[in-house]
């Protein structure tokens, strides 16, 4: 299994148009997307993106359509050429790679899953899953062995000989996932991979991804427009609007401390109980609070704490740290007000 790699995106700009390089300075100096379009007929894709993605983490990039999130993910394997900026992976700047080096990089360091699946319709499930390995030049017996393994892991055993057109959307995306995982690349790029699926199937596929991630530990960049999906999957979330990152941090950071009204608006309908951890809303020990009855871990969610208090009638819980030491208190009224926002 390959070691996960970190991804460092620095000062990335993307402008679409006839002469994009000429307008980078103006955009850097603060020209807006609307101004750029009106005055110079160029479209601002991305503005000064800086994101550090730790090795082995799931980074979600979230935004509505037109926010530039799909453009951003295509810069990581350079399916789109940036106008300015750097993308450092494993000590190398992807932006400066020569074509041959870039091809090797795409073959071995990244794998991608697409919104519209992008499977080869004339190939069976097995041959689709083996496509990346075939491009790498791995011999047939070996690549089919690996592909078969991953088809099984994504829950498609028995469908090896089927064709994509015979499968449902969810199953087709499982093939897309198997194709990407078969590559064993340290970086997995998922471009709205689940957006085309029904909510229930989407939830299933998120579970598949989270389960697999425990074992394969890849650096995953996951694009989505669905906040619930972002909060469920992402170790870290970057919110994109009009090509700029307006906030990044953990899901809890974003829900508890939205950077501006736009973000606040975005997160107001989220079920905070599932996102917020007890540790971040507790009061310090010794504060003015009723005596604690039972105790709960700081990493538990607010919803779990509330369920317990309702079930047992406890008015206040002691909060304990990782080694069981008391770190604070969670009174019922505090829990309720945090839950309501």
């Amino acid at each position: 299994m390959s070691e996960p790699l970190e991804i460092e995106i620095r000062n990335l700009f993307k402008i679409f148009g006839a002469n994009p390089a000429a307008h980078v300075e103006a955009v850097r100096a603060g020209m807006t997307k609307a101004e750029l379009n009106e005055r110079h007929r160029h479209v601002l894709g991305l503005r000064e993106i800086n994101i550090s993605i730790p090795a082995g983490a799931i980074q979600v990039v979230m935004g509505l359509s037109g926010s530039g999130k799909s453009t951003l993910i295509r810069h990581i394997n350079r399916l789109i050429e940036p106008t300015a900026g750097e993308i450092i992976i494993d000590g190398q700047d992807v932006v400066k790679m020569a074509p041959e080096a870039l091809r090797e990089f795409r073959r071995h360091q990244t794998a991608m899953v697409f919104q519209k699946f992008a499977l080869l319709p004339h190939r069976s499930v097995l041959d689709n899953a083996a496509f990346g390995l075939e491009v790498q030049g791995i011999d047939e017996a070996e690549r089919l062995r690996i592909a078969r393994h991953w088809i099984e892991r994504v829950g498609l055993a028995g469908f090896e000989k089927s064709y994509p057109s015979q499968l449902s959307g969810g199953m087709q995306q499982r093939v897309g996932l198997a194709r990407a995982l078969a590559n064993d690349a340290p970086i997995l790029l998922m471009d709205e991979a689940y957006s085309a699926l029904d909510p229930l199937i989407r939830y299933d596929m998120q579970t598949v991804l989270l389960d697999l991630q425990k074992e394969v530990r890849k650096t995953i960049v996951f694009i989505t427009h669905d906040l619930d999906e972002a909060l469920r999957i992402g170790d870290r979330i970057a919110l994109l609007r009009d090509g700029s990152v307006i906030q990044q941090g953990t899901g809890q950071d974003i829900v508890l401390n939205p950077a501006d009204d736009y973000v606040a608006n975005f997160v107001q309908h989220v079920d905070r109980g599932k996102i917020v951890k007890v540790g971040s809303v507790m009061v310090p020990p010794g504060a003015d609070a009723p005596g604690a009855d039972g105790s709960i871990g700081a990493e538990a969610t607010l919803l779990e704490a509330l369920h317990r208090m309702v079930a047992s009638g406890e008015k206040c819980l002691g909060v304990t740290g990782p080694s069981g030491q008391p770190v604070g208190l969670l009174p019922l009224d505090r829990a309720i007000s945090a839950y309501a926002g």
Partner: protein
């Protein structure tokens, strides 16, 4: 008002001189290069002679078996296999077996040549809009120029016989092959191409593993059209010495032998329908897995 009543044309003398100069130049060209061009086409001629000899020389039961096997391999349909055998039997029973074999040999050779020339040109054309802008008008000329007109220089250069006939047929039958190859490749789903790029496919891998297989049904439609157009040229090619079903038709026209013309004409139609159904069934089988995509 003379200029108003009749179009102000080039003076007769000048016009005559112009035509004469061009004719003279071409005649000189064909006199000095005709022989070397003929050597150039020698391998083609040998191949034509060889394929005709094989088809004519092979005993008829074996040809029938081969035809049935081919029809089955391409279509997996008993109806088409039986139709193929019955057509060939009728053609043979009415005394046209040898001519039919000669015609089929010609069609196969010109189709192979059209694919060999048309596929790379079509691929090239799909790669660049500039190449397409150059090639498209050439294809228009090839398809609309009356065949008799380009028979003249071909005959002047290479004389009468199999090779000039083949060239005339290929000129006529090539355009659909090029056009549909270009179209097929341009219509390949860009999402799939992006996926190929994302997995690090080289240009060649992309062509072989995604573009050509995805364009294949359209390319097969081009092959089918090429075969049909080649068959349509059989009679015209007979005028410059191509043997086969076209020659009796020519004879029938000049001597007003109605039945002779009808029999050979029907044989051409029979062969055409046969080749059409076989190649179409094959194309359809290639599309088997491209049904409606569930999303």
């Amino acid at each position: 008002m003379a200029w108003f009543d009749s179009f102000p044309q080039l003076a007769d003398d000048n016009l005559r001189a112009l035509k004469k100069t061009i004719d003279e130049a071409f005649r000189t060209f064909s006199r000095s290069y005709g022989a070397s061009l003929e050597t150039l086409f020698e391998p083609l001629k040998q191949f034509l002679i060889w394929s005709e000899r094989v088809l004519v020389g092979t005993p008829w039961p074996i040809i029938l078996l081969l035809a049935a096997g081919l029809a089955w391999a391409a279509s997996r349909s008993w109806k088409i296999v039986i139709a193929a055998v019955v057509t060939l039997c009728l053609v043979g029973y009415f005394g046209m077996w040898e001519d039919t074999m000669k015609t089929i040999s010609m069609i196969l050779t010109s189709t192979l040549m059209s694919i060999a020339i048309g596929l790379p040109i079509g691929i090239l054309m799909s790669r660049s809009n500039r190449v397409r802008a150059v090639i498209n008008p050439i294809l228009d000329v090839m398809q609309t120029m009356p065949s008799f007109v380009y028979l003249i220089p071909v005959v002047m250069l290479l004389g009468i016989g199999k090779v000039p006939g083949l060239i005339a047929v290929v000129v006529y039958a090539l355009p659909p092959m090029i056009r549909l190859t270009n179209l097929g490749i341009r219509e390949v789903d860009p999402d799939v191409l992006e996926a190929a790029d994302a997995f690090g496919a080289s240009r060649w891998q992309k062509l072989i593993k995604t573009e050509l297989p995805l364009a294949l049904p359209t390319i097969m439609a081009g092959v089918n059209q090429t075969i049909m157009m080649a068959l349509a040229m059989v009679v015209i090619a007979a005028m410059i010495g191509v043997q086969g079903l076209g020659q009796p038709v020519l004879k029938a026209i000049s001597n007003q032998y109605f039945t002779l013309g009808l029999f050979n004409g029907l044989a051409i139609v029979g062969i055409a329908i046969l080749l059409d159904r076989i190649s179409q069934a094959w194309g359809a089988r290639l599309q088997k897995h491209r049904g409606v995509k569930h999303v």
